[in-house]
């Protein structure tokens, strides 16, 4: 089965947003996923996802995390569950 995944990291550029992006890229790399990680910094775009805490993680247009930066292992689990 081929899954087309799109991962977005929502964040206006704070320190925690950058660390979520880093963790996500790492988790994607370790899982060998063929996806692109997009960073969304425009606040109006971010608000379309109704998140009230940044950073947030969006997988295939679904918000799976907001306001937290998980560890790489935890994020890997989240990614696998949302495949």
């Amino acid at each position: 089965m081929i899954n087309i995944m799109e991962i977005k990291v929502l964040g206006t550029g704070c320190a925690r947003c950058k660390s979520l992006e880093k963790v996500t890229t790492k988790a994607v790399g370790e899982l060998n996923l063929d996806v692109t990680v997009v960073k969304v910094e425009d606040i109006q775009k971010i608000m379309e996802y109704a998140v009230m805490r940044t950073p947030a993680l969006v997988i295939n247009e679904k918000v799976v995390l907001s306001g937290q930066v998980p560890k790489v292992n935890e994020l890997k689990e989240i990614l696998t569950n949302n495949l």
Binding site: T12, C14, A15, M47, E48, M52, V63, S66
Partner: protein
Amino acid sequence: MSRIKNKIVLVLLLIPIWIVVYKYLQEISDFIVFRIFQMPPEKHLTETLRFFIYEVPKVIMLLVLIIFFVGIIRTYFSPEKTRKALEGKSLFAGNVMASLLGIVTPFCSCSAIPLFLGFVEAGIPLGVTFSFLIAAPMINEVALVLLIGLFGWKVALIYVLTGLTIAIMAGFILEKLKLTRYVADWVYKTHSKQTLEEEESMTFNQRISAGGEVVKEIVGKIWIYILLGIAVGAGAHGFVPDEYLAGALGSQNWYSVPLAILVGIPLYSNAAGIIPIVSVLIEKGVTLGTALAFMMSVIGLSLPEIIILKKVLKWQLIGVFVGVVALGIVIVGLIFNYIIFI
């Protein structure tokens, strides 16, 4: 199951150890200074070092304990739940609730914008939203810890109560001024495509872990400021003569409070760095009202946060916002300087 028990047992075991160490901290620090370092008593350098070796572990221990429990309490709250609780509340009750929730809801100033927009979209009045945005940074657990540690619980309580009063009144006044037109135009046009699903509830074991994580994150970030703040404090404690600052800032000069606030707003520091310095200001003759006003303006009104808010508010509204909060702090400072003497 056994792991769940383990974590609670671990916490229950660590607490008595914490209490015993905390109780004998002065003895431990005296032992290090006088026995191990063999320093002569009553000297400036000795006093400085003794202050430092006592205050640093004391403050860090208090931080760990209180942030841990606040971290657990906060897992029961979220901005989403707070927003739901505030929907449809009448004006004054809304201000009171928003200010109280501002204390316990997890908040980071980098999330101020999404939070602001989320509140506005839910139809929560601007003034109620401001009450939240004033209370959340101003009354924080780090400030609380340091105030308890360095001034005692009475001053800490006064700080919380006056902070709440400012947040409630400022939000109420801002609403009465009807400033909605000074919110950036695009804000009311934003609509989210989806609604968030309800969060899963956590087990108590997870809440304990979350508390531990928060401790690691916050203490890891601010320990250096505490060290620096207390080092400056310790230096002044040993070397600057008492009542040194009493002339300009200590006596009941009416201008000392506004002056402290003007100096405080552009200073960007967190509670961790500023409070040890404030404690020295008081020791050297600055009155409590002036010192509290200084501290509130440093941590409650900061330039970076104002710059963040500029994205959603026009400058007129930011001006009124800063003005109303600053006025509230001035009143609190003056009340303390003139009426209440501790």
